[in-house]
Amino acid sequence: MDISTTKAPPPTEPADARPPADDRRKSNSATRPGDRVFLGLSRGSGIVLLTIMGAIAAFLTYRTVLALSDNSGNFFTTFEWDTAATPPKFGIPVLVFGTVVSSIIALVIAVPIAVAIALFISHYAPRKLSGPIAYVIDLLAAVPSIVYGLWGALVVAPHLVGLYSWLDDYLGWTGIFEYSGGAPRSLMTVGILLAIMILPIITNVSREVFLQSPKMHEEAALALGATRWEVIRMSVLPFGRSGVISASMLGLGRALGETIAVATVLSPSFLINASLLDPGGGTFAQNIASKFNEADEFGRDALIASGLVLFVITLLVNGAARLIIARRKEYSGANA
């Protein structure tokens, strides 16, 4: 958040450069009541936002320090979450694994589908059809996550048994796709459900970007004898690339933090299971949600510590996305 633009003019102007300008600024000719009110409002909002962010960070850090100082295990390597024991012992590797893996599965499934839908809406579908399709996609985003969770646990999961057995037959040797039967309330199921949940936001943002791809570049491709798909490959996708990355990061952010749907679908256990198809594992948000009510004061501090880690992971993901976008800036459509 950059509030520098709402600040007063920089005071570090050389004094001898233009003294009259300083005089004028101090006089009453430059400001109007409306400007002053708006300046106050926008500056105030910026300050409030920073204060809230600061307060959250301070709170998380303080409680984290409290929790970690009494942890008898190693926060980063202990495969246990026993905060009621004396001495308490807890660590996050299981949660990191579960969170990252389920989110990656979600992205791998959702991004190609979302980009395909977005391209269909923006460049293939007749106008009469593209409106309703976009509307239905929007509706997907409006479904509450508890509904997704219940649907995932009661409807989707049972139907995945067949797929998982098939995967086990052909890819079981990899270890990742081993399936030993039973209710498939596993990280893979969570990933599939998360994919459906993040589909709308990735689709919508990508669609907006694709719609803005410059007509003149599309025509350039057409005039060279490009087919519709080649036009998309030559002028739409390169232009929309950074937008799709941003959209994916928005989706990833939602997947990383999704709580109630994961908690409903996953049958958690505090261990890292090499097979993604068998139940087990957990995510940060799911772990917090399922343990928070029964936890004592110290247990809650430990959960907050894990929340801080999730916060940091999200920040890192965003930073990585920005790096990817910035690296291709020279070739982006922005300086066309």
């Binding site: 350039a220 060279l224 232009f239």
Partner: protein
């Protein structure tokens, strides 16, 4: 490589609006034909019917015939994609692909048409850039993005891209209107060289330009706003600018009109 264009009874619509009506003309191979006329008279629309770009705009459609050496571009079973591979186009605003390097821009059309060996591709790109009088300016930075060039260079890059696929016809839609006089001169010189190899059709608002570069000039006009544009006359450029046979043409080129 150049082909002759015969247009007969061509009418183009945007939805129910008739943009140009009943146009017939012949464009000789290896010549430059200029389209002039007031804004909105349909010269660009007509140009875009010559490579089936008109129908790319939603609700655009065309009636009539455009024969390229006797073959109807609008015949049944003709793929517009193939038409556009034979009839190249350069646009009003330079539009190199911003995500591609200079080299890739020139090679873009070739890569669509088939696979080339690396050195084959190098040769064609060099030849095309030389053909567009751009080679000396960019030969050291072929891997830099095309959007880093000046406007005039970008337009010549677009011309290089268009001629790299060796089209039969090259359409130019006000190719100099976004350029400064020096770049304009460079493009005009280039047109003079290119007509040795291609059939060139150019739309221009600049009558001096039409007089300078073209062999034949077609004057388009419309009766009133909202009326379809029509071809008033087409003749040798010299004749159009000295002794046109229609009064409206003379009014237009002498500035007594629109």
């Amino acid at each position: 490589m150049a082909k002759r264009i015969d247009v007969s009874g061509l009418t183009a619509y945007y939805g129910s609006h008739k943009a140009i009506e009943d146009i017939s003309m012949t464009v000789e191979p290896r010549s430059v034909t200029a389209f002039i006329g007031p804004s909105g008279c349909g010269k660009s629309t007509f140009l875009r019917t010559l490579n089936r770009m008109h129908e790319v705009t939603p609700s655009g459609r065309v009636e009539g015939k455009v024969l390229l050496d006797g073959e109807d571009l609008y015949g049944s079973g003709v793929d517009p994609v193939n038409v556009r591979r034979t009839v190249g186009m350069v646009f009003q605003r330079p539009n190199p692909f911003p995500t591609m390097s200079i080299f890739d821009n020139v090679a873009a059309g070739l890569r669509l048409n088939g696979s080339y060996k690396k050195n084959e591709l190098n040769d064609i790109v060099e030849k095309s850039l030389k053909g567009a009088n751009l080679w000396n300016e960019v030969k050291d930075r072929l891997n830099k993005p095309g959007s880093g060039l000046s406007g005039g260079q970008q337009q010549r890059l677009c011309i290089a891209r268009a001629i790299a696929v060796e089209p039969q016809v090259l359409l130019m839609d006000e190719p100099c209107s976004a350029l400064d006089p020096i770049s304009t001169l460079a493009i005009e010189d280039l047109i003079g060289e290119l007509k040795e190899r291609f059939t060139i059709v150019i739309v221009t608002h600049n009558m001096q330009q039409a007089a300078r570069v073209s062999d034949r000039t077609a004057f388009f006009n419309l009766a009133a706003i909202g009326q379809p544009g029509k071809l008033i006359e087409i003749d040798e450029t010299e004749r159009i600018f000295s002794n046109p046979s229609v009064q409206a043409t003379e009014d237009y080129i002498s500035g007594r009109f629109g």
